[in-house]
Symmetry: D2
Subunit: 342 residues, 4 copies
């Protein structure tokens, strides 16, 4: 079977696994106070072009979003997000469970528009009853989005500006950050993210780690006392060095970026193959997630030939939208086998 | 350096790590819906002597306690626990963050007394203002306790009875369960735990896994819709099979129990060595955690000879309480080296 | 000045105030355990045609909504509501502060459609990832709505049916219930509300009381242990009889319904006057709130002649939507004075 | 029947009720933005000797405590309080429902000791695992306490100092503030309270109002955006002027203080009568609550002669502790009738 279901169906990239095996027998202090974690944080800071950002290593994405947002917002505030944002749809109400409303904005293939953000904030404070409503306390965006799309540098700069003018932080969910940075038509670097966001996280789970998300706090006014909050959210690993060891492997020699580049190259090859045969890419995604509208006959044909992938929404009468995802474990022969079946 | 600091300072037991390595390249469905997780749950049910208990695999202990307790309690209820209980002291307020009070009881070397539990419940409902107070909604105990002590079978039966008479569930935190079951002077089996508790968890992190706690729900009336709650608490791993693979390794051939037995044997050897030389065991612990009151001179002597261990509380003028902990990674030569220094 | 701003700008209906004055010097037990509260609850049960519903007296509407919804929902559930619903917009995030998402539905002049409710529930459970999403755990509607509109009996029956088929309770916010029941073109009685809703509240604050909302729980499976939850939400008055005395006055001889009927008659007179002069009623409201699109010149003319009312949204270039509200304190001469100015 | 059960068994002081009646027919803007509320706040500021403190008017005590504490604490913090403190015992877990632990200190007839507060904070930060514990984020005390006792000025100054040295606010629950200020052996003025506390509230419910508590925020760094939080907590009255009108009546000509003085004088007369006849005052209270250990025969004798009062705890074999409380409604003849029966 060849899998294009998601980027978290296999284990860790071999180099990451190797690092875990090599260090397995060592004893270190717990809860992330070990030297592997310290080193990983330094490597991340260096990659971001930052000298004094605070870096925290957590386990999973929903957990990270809830812990960060809970730590940033005041009790009367909510978080702005696209209606399609992960926190708005697929986190089982984790943000609300912390006491905060997700204030949704229209989405454009997963992205928010700076004009919508600005208008929301303006209208909120022009409303005489605004103290009876939930104040916008931060902006959440994902890069790339849940649709595989990315923001341009100009768009990120504008979002950062509209947030800072309103004195609310910009938070970027980078669960698949490597794939967004690797988009060939993109112009955003990790340093740009680090410069424009107040907080963001570098996703490990979907980019070669067994698990792990690295939160980078560039705004020195935010998330003081974050460690007890991580503990309170059940996100502080006893064997914290497991996170350090993995992020060290990912950031020591650029492996994180290589995984992203390889997977995006493969995803675009898949896209090219489908489109050249006349199928529609329903989202113009430049990253490792590709969405196509395919005849059900083709879907069945591929699946009967051991190609595994997910439908996106329910199966249609004759055609259905499907998703193909590449990751560290996707091989060139996987791509060849798929293309040969089209 | 030889480490007796804790049972979570090293990585995974080699057999557990091997299982992760062997399965690393496979693709499976995410979020714990894979066959490794299913198999692990079956092995756990079998070990518990249960055929239809529900089993859930979570990542860490604080997370597990918060998710379970949040799922069990009604909004007006709190959880009874020893004043020394992990949820009362060392979880950064995770239970309160879910909206619930920890109702504390006196502790006796980490244990609660059934008479105290019964008296609390009786007095609560005899108080005319009880609707202005937090109702006891469940009982939390740890086995073994934070002091390494264990309950006898009779004590557990009595606690179970007093809870069920009051119609509140008994929840057992088994972060170090294997060590409690391995206590040579203990008379409690895993099947007893499964029979007497409404919910308990089998700790993996401190017993040979990289991470992982298996929640067993034996009471069919509790924790319906627990999966969305796990997700909401950020405790649902994307690569959920990592938990399944590890618990499979731990429960396939009894490795979980072997780790417990070995570590307890070693801990008792340490205890015997200290006591035979006239030092005081400040807790009468039959498990893998041992507490001694030692002269500071001996503490310094051991540490200067590469024996690493924690002080328990602050350093005294002349003597200090220390803790020695054994685990899967403790070797016989570690014990010999320690004993030779006494 | 003549006020049409809202139905909570004046104090209590004279009969209600009189009841408070007459009983002021008496001593009674606190927290609503007095005989006035007991009698008020009996009168409410009788008016509802119920013999054994539980009735609870709270202070304000937002408080009531938060306490009820918090008490009904399981941790993984949210509440369905119109996008224009009070809990979705104007309660400063009180529902989210209790940990629950407001799942919004399209609104049609404040009302939800039964087909939208049904479709939401169906689609939710057809989604394979539904355990990663917030489950619909109850339906909230307001009667009349925030736009002054009302549901027909058939609509309420359908909503009740779709809820009960999905095994979720129907909750009706009756902050202005008397005005909805008094709508001349309506066909819904208090007994209908009591028969179709699992929980509803009878608003006092906007219908002649100084404050107070009476929660009626008709579904015996819901809101057990509600008193400690009321206390926890800070909604349990020390001098609880104040609520009992007021609801007794409102329900002893039908005053509650008379206030509604009088105010609706007056509101319809206002509507007739505006419409007959060619102005547009922007909502077809049969209750005590009326919305008109008026030329700014007329708005200024009325205001300069001591007619006070609110604009609805921001002032337009030439025309603006305004709201006129009647209540217990609106007099016939108020209406005459207004009409004379048109 | 003559009532000594509590200070909230009767309605409002006649002057307060009169003010409500006189203003009943007026129309004012809602939610506390009216001129009565503004005037009441000015009168309170003046009485406190403050020119720019912020004042907020809420409805009840539990509600006030929860809203204030929720607004002050960061997510990882808890509130220090005496084990006997109202928030620790009698608020149905309202503080925990907001996500925060009540960190309890020993109590001495309801009071905390400055040395205990200091020691708690010192030990907390000396503990190496303090990030796994709940940080002390504020100190809650009540004046007078739940036992009727009061702090001396020196004690309050010391508590204020230890808090400010640790950079945590001091919050004083003044549910019965007037009675504490009126204690003949006390040396604390309202201005002292205002100078030493960062936040406190002036209780109206138990001192002549129908309901109402005035929160005074003297520390300009705290409780920004408090109005939306009040709304979120369901504590923002639609007819907010009811609070303004009442506090205006209480503070216009010193009525608040007079009620306190009168009731304390009466309570001390009761105390003198009991003690002079050889009965034990179990708490040395200088305020309006008095606690005596009485023979059950006397208790029964008094009750059969129409004297109503509460037992404090359960009835003993031969003797029982009882509580006598005076308030605005206690008359001189009430006292005479009681004394005559001893």
């Amino acid at each position: 079977m060849i899998y294009f279901d998601s980027d978290y169906t296999a284990g860790a990239h071999p180099e990451v696994l190797e690092a875990l095996c090599v260090t397995n027998g060592e004893h270190t202090i717990g809860y992330g106070c070990d030297s592997y974690s310290e080193n990983a944080k330094n490597l991340i800071r260096k990659a971001c072009g930052l000298t004094d950002a605070r870096v925290y290593l957590l386990v999973g994405g929903t957990q990270t979003n809830a812990t960060v947002i809970d730590g940033v917002l005041a009790r009367h505030e909510g978080v702005l997000a696209a209606q399609s944002g992960h926190i708005a749809v697929h986190e089982s109400g984790a943000i609300e469970a912390c006491g905060h409303k997700v204030l949704t904005l229209p989405h454009y293939q997963g992205k928010v528009k700076v004009t919508d953000v600005g208008a929301f904030i303006d209208e909120f404070y022009r409303d005489e009853t605004y103290e009876h409503m939930v104040a916008p306390g931060m902006l959440y965006i994902s890069f790339p989005t849940e649709y595989g799309t990315i923001y341009t540098l100009k768009e990120l700069e504008d979002l950062s500006e509209v947030c800072h003018k309103a004195d609310i932080p910009l938070y970027i969910d980078g669960a698949r950050l490597a794939y967004g940075l690797a988009a060939t038509e993109g112009d955003v670097t990790l340093q740009d993210i680090a410069r424009l966001a107040d907080i963001f996280y570098i996703g490990g789970t979907k980019v070669g780690a067994l698990f792990g998300e690295a939160v980078v706090v560039t705004n020195p006014n935010l998330l003081h006392h974050f460690t007890p909050l991580i503990k309170q959210h059940g996100a502080l690993m006893a064997k914290g060095r497991l996170l350090g060891v993995q992020f060290e492997a990912l950031f020591r020699d650029g492996l994180y970026f290589e995984i992203g580049q390889k997977a995006v190259r493969q995803a675009l090859a898949i896209k090219k193959a489908f489109v050249s045969r006349g199928y529609t890419a329903v989202v113009d995604s430049p990253t490792n997630q590709q969405f196509f509208l395919l005849p059900n006959t083709l879907i069945d044909h591929l699946r009967s030939n051991n190609i595994s992938f997910e439908t996106w929404g329910t199966r249609g009468e004759e055609q259905t939208t499907v998703r193909f995802v590449t990751g560290w474990a996707t091989t060139e022969s996987d791509i060849d086998a798929l293309v040969a079946l089209l």
